[in-house]
């Protein structure tokens, strides 16, 4: 039987790191060990200088389909994901129509399967149409395979509705993921509320608007016992709140986006909307706090909040341009360039920790051992490469890292045993 052989790399997973080759057959790892011999007709992937890890899992992407296929499709977003080393992505439900019914989530999942580049995991809405009024049918969506529920793009403003959502979720295999933003405090907001917005003459987005909802949902989790995941944390205060909640033993997890530990509000001084994002880029102190939160495990996962927007929309005046940045293809490179933590911790935050939060730990983020599903990422941790927007596979090129040098680049991605990225090139 022909197999795929990943040759010459170092295997790094939750059990440790060692020099080893990996043989894959029929979608599963069959052999791990030094000096495995290639058989006739074997598909050999060179991993010299690379680490071989469980595939990455992104808890937070916007694939825009259905509704905004001019910005991204499930296929183009899946390709960007595979190139970034992701074998599974959680697709946010702010599509048109929203992912609040079995029909829509099944469509998204099927489009992902058709693209065949990574597993697309549709998130469900917490409320119907993300309107914050009526709970979405959680059980029906869980039956359809949904594990992550969120109104991302909007926070659930009504504290009673959020309490009910948590209580109702208790018997179901699901996690509630909150976009933490008290909307009344951010009306019209364009960027972080502080020195820069004062000088630039634009309305500010106060850190408090995030922290109030982080605090509220931690306390609701304490009250109800529900699992809660906090999306794209951006402030030092949020990190402190989550750290305290974890010390109290609450079932709270959190993620941070690469741009929130790499960039600050200062980027907006040229009024370039590529740097407009929600929650906004904040201060150096917040960046340092997010890094510290990732270093000590307060923040469980690195999630991109990949948010494609067409160029003409990002060229609108700053106050009118939509917030968001693409991130799938740059996440690893930003993380390795910016974070001063052991490589294994970066991989944990990109792979097995988010896999557990997304409810896919049976098939993603697995240890690399015989019998395990072969969803793997092979990357060169030392590769320095410049970000060229035109080279991105995403249909939109709104990266804030254009022209920067990143460190660490994906060489191969193996999804369900198949090399979907080889030597940095997507195979479909």
């Amino acid at each position: 039987m022909t197999s795929v052989l990943i040759s010459g790399g170092r295997v790094l997973d939750q059990t440790g790191e060692r020099a080893a080759d990996v043989r894959i057959e029929s979608g599963r790892v069959v052999e791990v060990g030094a000096g495995l011999a290639a058989g006739d007709g074997d598909d050999v992937l060179d991993a010299t200088g690379c680490v071989v890890t469980p595939g990455f899992v992104d808890l937070h992407v916007h694939l825009r389909e259905p509704g905004r296929e001019d910005a991204e499709t499930i296929e183009s977003g899946s390709r960007a994901a595979a190139l970034g080393g992701f074998t599974a992505v959680v697709a946010m439900p702010n599509t048109e129509p929203a992912q609040d019914s079995r029909g829509v989530v099944e469509f998204v999942r099927a489009q992902g399967a058709a693209a065949g580049l990574c597993e697309v995991l549709p998130a469900g809405c917490i409320t119907v149409g993300r309107a914050g009024m009526v709970l979405a049918p959680f059980a029906e969506l869980v039956d359809a395979g949904v594990r992550v529920f969120t109104d991302d793009g909007n926070g659930v403003q009504d504290p009673l509705l959020m309490r009910r959502a948590m209580e109702y979720s208790l018997g179901l295999d699901m996690v509630l993921a909150q976009h933490c933003e008290v909307a009344r405090l951010t009306e019209g907001a364009v960027m972080h509320e502080g020195l820069c917005c004062s000088e630039l003459g634009v309305p500010g987005w106060p850190a408090l608007a995030e922290e109030l909802m982080v605090h509220r949902d931690i306390e609701l989790a304490r009250l109800t016992g529900a699992r809660v995941h906090l999306l794209h944390l951006s402030t030092a205060g949020s990190v402190d709140l989550v750290r305290a909640a974890k010390a109290d033993g609450l079932a709270v997890t959190a993620e941070a986006a690469p741009h929130h530990f790499a960039l600050t509000e200062e980027e907006l001084r040229g009024y370039d909307a590529r740097f407009k994002v929600n929650p906004p880029l904040r201060t150096k102190a917040d960046v340092d706090a997010i890094k510290a939160g990732l270093a000590d495990g307060t923040i469980d996962a690195i999630a991109t909040d990949h948010a494609p927007h067409p160029a003409d929309e990002k060229e609108r005046p700053l106050s009118e341009a939509p917030p968001g940045m693409v991130g799938l293809e740059t996440a690893l490179g930003v993380a390795l360039a910016e974070l001063d933590v052991p490589l294994a911790d970066v991989v944990a935050a990109l792979s097995w920790k988010p896999a557990a939060i997304a409810g896919v730990a049976d098939r993603h983020g697995r240890p690399i051992a015989p019998g395990e599903p072969a969803n793997l990422t092979v990357f060169d941790p030392g590769a320095i490469w410049p970000v060229r927007p035109a080279d991105l596979a995403s249909r939109s090129h709104n990266t804030p890292f254009a022209g920067r040098d990143l460190r660490g680049r994906v060489r191969h991605t193996i999804f369900q045993g198949e090399p979907v990225v080889r030597a940095g090139v997507a195979q479909k």
Binding site: E193, G194, L195, C197, S198, E199, L200, G201, V202, G204, P206, G270, Y271, D272, D312, E315, R316, P317, L318, S319, E320
Partner: protein, 314 residues
């Protein structure tokens, strides 16, 4: 100098140079035929995405007195809704051959975005809450002239009163006054200050009114009432308007300024015609000369000695 987008961007030396050049322009404006050929052959496009009759007329007048060709394009928000993007608008007009754009836009930062899409000079005619540098220059010029100063404004005590947070005039005026060495105090409730104020602030006008050389009143917009920024216009006036009582406490030499249009009965509760220190009409007059200086500096080349003696012949 390629652009005039903000005072902060050009720095104090350029400010003094422009104010000195304004003296020359003011001299031209006093002639019987206030027109020189300095910018003949140059094309200036006034691109106004927000209605502003006085700023537009002032720029048009300035350009014509320097013999430049002027196009004025007032873009209603409806045109934007028809689908043409800001970039397409700029690139279309620029393709007609434009040396400088004067841009007024309700969104902060548009002059910076536009300067990425054209090689023409950009003059900020007011962007959102952010900046209005020609207003700042004409205000600085008016203070310098009225107080008989040359050079800067070292030690001049200026109170800027009102809605600082939402005011491009306030941001640019504070920058220009501070660049020239003035001692600026902001007077406003905390709701009408930006999160980080650019100068020391107080909410007690009565504590500063007798210790200033310039009282600069900002326009108080009525829509601020709906945003819980002040309880009522009446309460605002009680605390922050120039009332007859406060006018009596102003030092005799103190100037009273306002960028217009004035809300009589809100921030201005006296008739400025009866205030000996009011220089509001001079601000408007000086606006033309300042804008001539800016256009000349940008389009005739920085550092070139201004030959402004020749009269335009018919």
């Amino acid at each position: 100098m390629k652009h005039l987008r903000s005072i902060a961007e050009i720095g104090p030396d350029a400010v003094v140079r422009l104010l000195d050049l304004t003296d020359h322009m003011a001299e031209i404006n006093r002639r019987n035929n206030p027109r020189v050929p300095a910018l003949r052959g140059k094309t200036i496009c006034n691109l106004f995405f927000e209605d502003s009759t006085r700023t537009r007329l002032s720029f048009e007048t300035a350009a014509k007195r320097l013999s430049a060709d002027v196009m004025t394009f007032t873009v209603g928000t409806s045109s934007v809704n028809k689908g043409e993007s800001l970039r397409d608008t700029i690139e279309t007009v620029a393709a007609m051959g434009v040396d400088a754009f004067v841009i007024r836009h309700p969104a902060s930062g548009v002059p910076w975005q536009v300067s990425r899409w054209t090689t023409a000079s950009i003059i900020n005619g007011g962007d959102g809450w952010h900046a209005h540098p020609t207003q700042a220059l004409l205000d600085a010029y008016t203070v310098r002239q009225a107080l008989g100063r040359t050079g800067g404004l070292d030690g001049v005590r200026i109170a800027v009163v009102g809605d600082i947070k939402h005011s491009r005039v306030a941001r640019s005026d504070v920058e220009v006054f501070q660049a020239l060495g003035a001692d600026v105090t902001l007077v406003a409730p905390a709701t009408l200050l930006p999160p980080v104020a650019p100068a020391p602030a107080t909410d007690r006008l009565d504590d500063v009114i007798d210790k200033i050389d310039v009282l600069y009143l900002l326009r108080m917009q009525r829509e601020r009432m709906h945003e819980a920024l002040v309880p009522s216009l009446r309460e605002y006036s009680t605390r922050f308007a120039l009332t007859p009582e406060r006018a009596r406490r102003l030092p005799d030499h103190a100037l009273v300024m306002h960028p217009g249009p004035m809300n009589r009965g809100v921030e201005m509760m006296v008739d400025p015609a009866e205030l000996p220190g009011a220089v509001i009409a001079q601000q408007v007059t000086n606006g033309v000369a300042v804008r001539m200086a800016v256009l000349f500096d940008l389009l005739a080349g920085a550092g070139s000695a201004p030959d402004l003696t020749a009269e335009e012949r018919p």
